[in-house]
Symmetry: C2
Subunit: 195 residues, 2 copies
DNA sequence: CTGGCAATATGACGTGCGTCATAGAAGGAC
DNA sequence: GTCCTTCTATGACGCACGTCATATTGCCAG
């Protein structure tokens, strides 16, 4: 963990990973700095806003990461279709579960479940994070030939199904939900280009 | 809250509601008994297994509730099709958000996000809860004419999309994700009967 | 060399948590 | 009545948490 990044970046990253595992309420700052191989004193120095600030930055980082991944997937595709993009997004999670088990989910979903109902400020942060992820998906769909009017709602469908399938996969410790969602959704997604 | 049910039942119910709002880690037992208008001493009497037992029972209760709701929806439908069933399931959440705001989500999803990665015993409980919800959906699809081979994966798609859309709706404090998912998924679901 | 600022180190404080110990009330069985 | 089981009441314990106060280091500008 004590790699080339700055202590501050490592703390944000470690916070994001902890949220993925245990949720926001279950994330302890002492544990985060330890994982980040960072000094405890750095917490109050880099994040004077306390836990809220750190969580907000972790979520923003996660959203940027997801958005960058979407852009990467789009470039990788030889035949760029919505279904293929969705399959690649799901593929990433299957690989994650393969390699590291089912301990980690999506930080945005975890934050939503934990604090969307009680902390409106953090809720707005999560909303912005989801938007930063949905936007590139919708844009990619348009470039693939999906009518602009449908691109947004198809992006919502993709993210919703993916998030739900990730959760189901974790709960069952089985990738089958991810495979099922991809299999069932691919025809619908690719059909949206044809018309 | 001090209605006709027994103190024990009220505690389980209040625990489920608290999990929906704040997640498992964010749920405090002192707060649960207070909401349930139940004596604190009842906690250690009815739930000698501590918080884990209470959470497990709350999740099991939630799953039973969801399963019963599915059965009710199927009966309500004049023209029973998969799309209409899904629309009704989503409709319930839109009404919930309308009446009570976006404070409460799905307890199963919250439990998955919080503890699926750390507590395998509770993870198994969540898995059982999801199965108890998926089973009646799959059975209903079969009765509507969906080929048995597809019924299960379509049920997974429905639950996944619904869960994800609920989360997105909470994060954005907006029902649009639920509407989008229903709109996009209805043709696909109803098409599964025709063939 | 030295002043000053960024960064780190470390201990303490108060709070809220799950849990436990122990005692008391309620009410039927006999 | 008395006894026993079920349920309730209440305080305390230990621990982990977020936060704060306060030193101390490292380092570069002047």
């Amino acid at each position: 963990m004590a790699n080339g990044h700055s202590p501050r970046d490592r703390i944000v990253y470690a916070a994001a990973q902890s949220i993925r595992e245990r949720g926001v309420a279950g994330t302890a700052l002492r544990d985060v700095v330890e994982r980040a191989c960072a000094p405890r004193g750095s917490l109050q120095h880099y994040f004077p806003g306390g836990k809220d600030q750190l969580v907000a930055e972790a979520l923003a980082w996660s959203a940027d990461y997801a958005a960058a991944a979407v852009a990467r997937y789009e470039q990788q595709l030889r035949t760029p279709t919505p279904g293929a993009l969705f399959a690649l997004m799901a593929r990433q999670w299957q690989d994650e579960f393969d390699k590291r088990g089912y301990t980690r989910g999506c930080p945005l979903l975890a934050a939503t479940a934990d604090v969307a109902g009680t902390d409106d400020e953090l809720r707005a942060t999560v909303e912005a994070a989801f938007d930063a992820w949905l936007a590139p998906v919708g844009a990619a769909l348009k470039r693939m030939g999906v009518p602009p009017a449908r691109a947004k709602s198809l992006a919502v469908l993709m993210i919703s199904s993916l998030e739900g399938a990730i959760a189901l996969a974790r709960a069952r410790a089985d990738q089958a939900p991810l495979r099922a969602v991809v299999r069932e959704l691919t025809p619908l997604l690719d059909q949206a280009v044809a018309q």
